[in-house]
Amino acid sequence: MALDDRKSEFTFVGTRPNRPDGLDKVTGRAKFGADMSAPGMLHGAILRSPHAHARIVKIDTSKAEAHKDVKAVVTRADFADVPFKPGLEGEFWNVLENVMAGEKALYDGHAVAAVAATSALAARDALKLIEVEYEVLPHVTDVDKAMASDAPVIREGAADYSVPEGMHPNVVRYHESGHGDVEAGFAEADLVIEDSFVTEATHQGYIEPHACLGMLGNDGKGELWCTTQGHWIAQKTCAALLGIETSQLRVTASEIGGGFGGKTTVFIEPVALALSRKANRPVKLVMTRSEVFRATGPTSSASMDIKIGMKKDGTISAAQGVFRLQGGAFPGAPGDMTAMCAFAPYNLTNVKQVGYDVMANRPKQAAYRAPGAPMGAFAVESVIDELCKKLDLDPVDVRLKNAAYEGTKASYGPRYERIGLVETLEAAKAHPHYSAPLKPGQGRGISCGFWFNHGGETSVSLSLSEDGSAQLMVGTPDIGGSRASMALMAAEVLGIPYENIRVTIADTATLGYNDVSHGSRVTYASGLATIKAANHAVEKLCERAAASWGIPTDAVKWENGCAVPSGPNAGDFDPRPLADITAHMGSTGGPISGHFEATPEGAGVSFGTHIVDAEVDPETGKTAITRYTVVQDAGKAIHPTYVEGQYQGGAAQGIGWALNEEYIYGEDGRLQNSIFLDYRIPVASDLPMIDTVIVEVPNPGHPFGVRGVGETGIVPPLAAIANAVSHAAGVRMRQLPMSPPRILAALKDNG
């Protein structure tokens, strides 16, 4: 994609105006998923399996259907498999199977039936009238046990071509990559460390449960309001699962109360639509917190083996990793991503990585902020830290010595374009935090982290109003202030005030397809699209000015919000401001708008370096994070305050993952901690202020240099905190979370 509109001097970009949706969000006016109602609306509720693995012998819904307040009951038979759209396959089939169980319940919490009734209470009461006969089957929830030869088979035939022969059917995808000769590299090393690491599944933990309001008529036309990171994928998936045409379902994204990757697919939306079709009335479905934990995507749990060889001067001579990721009862665990990201920060001659995607009787994993990367970084950066300690080397210097830079062949294959890892390490080293003295009982850890970032299909439309204001329609739900960034970028191109631009998240009927708000793509891709759409409008503005002056269009340029004559033969005309041109657009050729529809490919990979101080209480095993600094390359920070917010939020989620959060399963395969009291995410009193340093090494693939910033921030924390805790406790921590009992056990084992 030609980037002839590249800029490095900015008027609006880099400032910190108030977000356009601020007033709505502080007054309670903003409408989130559960805040919408419709005339005649029914309330839905979902019956879920209490078993981790069970054959569904029979479902009797007759008593529920006879309940006076119940208007519809649905089971798997009401979805698309055969009657409406035969041959549903691939990920659509997986999603359907997850949305409503077929022959088997595959995890504790798997949906088996749903009702719609005149009130939420009546719907919940009616669930108790549905009789399900189960034949309980053996289950497995642990990744290593799920790969063992005697493990119960979740589903035969789920593996794809990549899996080597002889593996258990629960291994469904295999990844191997790297370059060089790792055995030769290990032979050159002065010290080789080989170690194994485990991380538990964690949940994205968005505070807003999944919620939707669906209406689907027998004419195959429908409306869906839902909290989602991507309403086009919701549209496409719901249409497939219900056997209707995609375009006949209009989906509107509500304000979204957090997603972090967990709202990139559908769970209750097709169920609400199926209930609505049967009842012929709108149906609202809202998950309870317990349903969110039991039945929506946590991240994968992981078991990993790392081997790294280092020379006395700190050079890594070879690195090798095996990453086994458990992704629930469906294919999709990001074993490949973990493998590809694990060694990506380093310029390695010899590297090899292997990833496994393993099924178990748990909920279908969903993306969680840089999916797969944090676990791998935890394992790899822990071993690098141990090597530094044993060889008495400074951990930042060692990382600088091995750091990837422009032209480095990445561990996962391609050569890097301009990247900013070295700059983040140098900024970390220069930061006062890195040289601040530690108190007794404290330890300091550092880690680097990498994430690919993503472009994705993107459509944007910008239209100008007669008074010179602009309406910008984007299709990526705004989760963390992106409307402000879009308005800043549009203002930069158009040269009109930020406040004069109204940014709307358009519904699926009013804009072309947009990929999900994921992959740290919004400020990059919708931003690039906004810039291109604004430039498209500017071209038309220049044409109108040129026509009014009677000179060629190429003799007009756009400067500070005005068309001005340019070049020696352009003539002498007064600049025409945008509002002057739009005031007459009706009589000079009609409406002026700009568009962009494409798939930007230059997302630009992203790196960060974190510094953490931790203090471990040897009596209780409790860890306090006493100081935290995030250094990350943003390419160009469009709205620096919200960039800082992404850094801080990623660090906080990493702290929770490292110290507290985990899915705990009983012997019966049931999730034991499905409320926030027992699944404890960090609260305000758990955390220190989180310092941030925004490094700006422009991304060559974006006109203003933007790199996505949302995900990289959660990659380094697990390792950085584990390194800090290991130094504070005097013992290497190899399993997350480092909860007080685990730390006490480690201290005890260490004598």
């Binding site: 977000r19 502080v26 989130f32 933990g205 505070i207 957090g258 809202v286 917190r289 919200y642 202020m689």
Partner: protein
């Protein structure tokens, strides 16, 4: 099950509703009075997104029954601003980007207002512990704590 008739005051307005004895105050605010500012994040009193003030006391409205509101003075996020003039906390939250997705914001604003009414000069630690019942998953709390403490400072200077 027969319903109960409840008369109460919400943000200064006299209101009435019929509720099932199993329905929470949060259900009644949202579903019967269309005050959807208070959010249900957990339904178990752990996340604080449903925080409201009842007779001046900070409560999780998901842990209180709708029938218990009879005769009480309820204040929700919808009542924090004075007409079109935002409360200093609301203004400061916008200026500081003390929200990202904004789902926890109503509860945090109600809780923070309650803190400043009781303690106009909270330390960082006091602020963090007071807000420990309000989960935020986006911000890491940094900008929230700063916004509350700066508001407190400005309110002290103004009084």
């Amino acid at each position: 099950m027969s319903k109960f008739h409840v008369s109460t005051t919400v943000n200064g307005d006299s209101v009435e509703y019929l509720c099932d004895p199993r329905e929470t105050l949060l259900d009644c605010l949202r579903d019967k009075l269309n005050l959807t500012g208070a959010k249900e994040g957990c339904g178990t009193g752990d996340c604080g997104a449903c925080s409201v003030s009842v007779d001046g006391r900070l409560v999780c409205s998901c842990l209180m029954l709708g029938v218990e509101a009879d005769g009480k003075q309820i204040e929700t996020v919808e009542g924090i601003a004075d007409g079109d003039v935002l409360h200093p906390l609301q203004q400061k939250f916008i200026e500081h980007a003390a929200l990202q997705c904004g789902i926890c914001t109503p509860g945090i604003l109600v809780a923070a207002k309650s803190l400043l009414e009781k303690n106009p000069n909270p330390t960082e630690e006091e602020t963090r512990y007071w807000l420990a019942g309000n989960l935020c998953r986006c911000t890491g709390y940094d900008k929230i704590i700063r916004a509350v403490m700066e508001t407190a400072e400005e309110l002290r200077e103004a009084s």
